[in-house]
């Protein structure tokens, strides 16, 4: 079965629909599926809900879909660095479900693992706990958080083979594996598709069972905060 598609638009064809819940990988602008996000913008699908740790910046990442008002709701842990997001949120155009970062990652992982809910002590005693079931084990309260079952997952990896086995690079792995796991359909964009058999089976970061469609492309990989130190004697 062929999983390889010519480009992002073709990979989204027949999958992307208005109103769907999309889980997206990435942390800040690191390891985001930038080609698929651009293709979603060009497709014009609207009323989308995104489960994504961040919302990008105004002109990159999910930010480009906020500009075109294609996003109805964000499920995120941190949405700073995005002026248009704030404007839409404060004017009531955009819904926002704040989820602590680890809870968001686990909600995706749980959804992908067929677990509809789990208890965590993260957020106990805070606004995050409001309206949620509380259970006590050994004197400690835990709150119920629900798994995320996304209609579509869009992720970015470094390399894929033709069967969808994935390798990520450094901290660009971040939310990509749990996001991939929780999608009914998962589309991955990679920097390189390598021949099946050339990846070490002991070093696959995400097995191809989670991946349905693959595209290869060139990535801008924008840096959000360029920080450096000076060389000795420079």
């Amino acid at each position: 079965m062929n999983k390889i598609y010519a480009n992002a638009a073709e990979a989204l064809d027949g999958v992307l629909t208005d109103g769907m819940l999309i889980a997206s990988g990435g942390f800040g602008l690191c390891g985001i599926p930038e080609l698929l996000l651009q293709a979603i913008k060009e497709n014009g699908a609207k009323e989308l809900t995104f489960a994504s740790n961040n919302a990008g910046v105004d002109d990159f990442g999910i930010g480009i879909l906020l500009q075109t008002k294609q996003v109805k709701k964000m499920i995120s842990s941190y949405v700073g660095e995005n002026a248009e997001f704030m404007r839409q949120y404060l004017s009531g155009e955009l819904e926002l479900e704040f989820t602590p970062q680890g809870t968001l990652a686990e909600r995706m992982r749980a959804g992908g693992a067929g677990i509809p809910g789990f208890y965590t002590k993260t957020g106990v005693g805070t606004v995050i706990a409001e309206g949620k079931d509380v259970k006590n084990w050994n004197g400690q309260d835990y709150i119920l958080e629900e798994g995320i079952f996304a209609d579509l997952a869009i992720v970015k990896a470094w390399k894929a083979d033709a069967t969808g086995n994935l390798i990520f690079r450094k901290t660009a792995r971040n939310f990509n594996p749990p996001a991939a796991m929780c999608g009914k359909v998962c589309i991955v964009e990679v920097e390189e598709i390598v021949p099946t058999g050339s990846l070490d089976p002991d070093n696959i970061h995400l097995p191809g069972i989670y991946v349905h469609r693959i595209i290869q492309g060139t990535h801008e990989k924008r840096i959000e905060q360029r920080t450096v130190r000076t060389r000795e004697g420079a």
Binding site: Q101, E106, G125, T171, N174, P177, I223, V228
Partner: protein
Amino acid sequence: MWDRNQMAARAAQELEDGMYVNLGIGIPTLVANYVGDKDITLQSENGMLGMGPFPFEGDEDPDLINAGKQTITEMDRTAYFDSATSFAMIRGGKIAAAILGAMEVSETGDLANWMIPGKLIKGMGGAMDLVAGVGRVIVVMDHANKHGESKVLKACTLPLTGKGVVDRIITNLGVLDVVEGGLRIVECAEGVTEEELRAATQATLV
């Protein structure tokens, strides 16, 4: 009174050889400069253990950033993993300590450091998971806000990041521990008397 670097140096004394530690943004980041010979492994919650210093100019890698989205470097011991694994080790109590900044801390160890109602809301990021999960939470912050009011309170006024989660508070005026019935003075900063520390603190001191 301690400056930012002296507060960071004091916080570094809390760390013991072999610890895995998560440092927050701001003064906590400076703590890395004062660990000396101690074998400390820094965690970055976006998926890395063994966080190295900023890269030299020209060596920046867009695939290698810390939780503050700054470019960083790896070390010999570095391991990378996904966000679910990262927070599994945080929630599972494997990270010995987190050193974090704060807007307010209460005498019962409540911490507020993620939102001010009516102001720009950015989100809690990983702060709620960290304070709920790590072995020890150490807050490093100025003792008073910019209006001169104590940030060490009987009860927090801002929305909480965690309830009863703080173990130790290090400010420019001294070190306080959260204990039964209130806060206990551990030490005063250089040039600060116990009376001055008491006068600057709204919380109950025992």
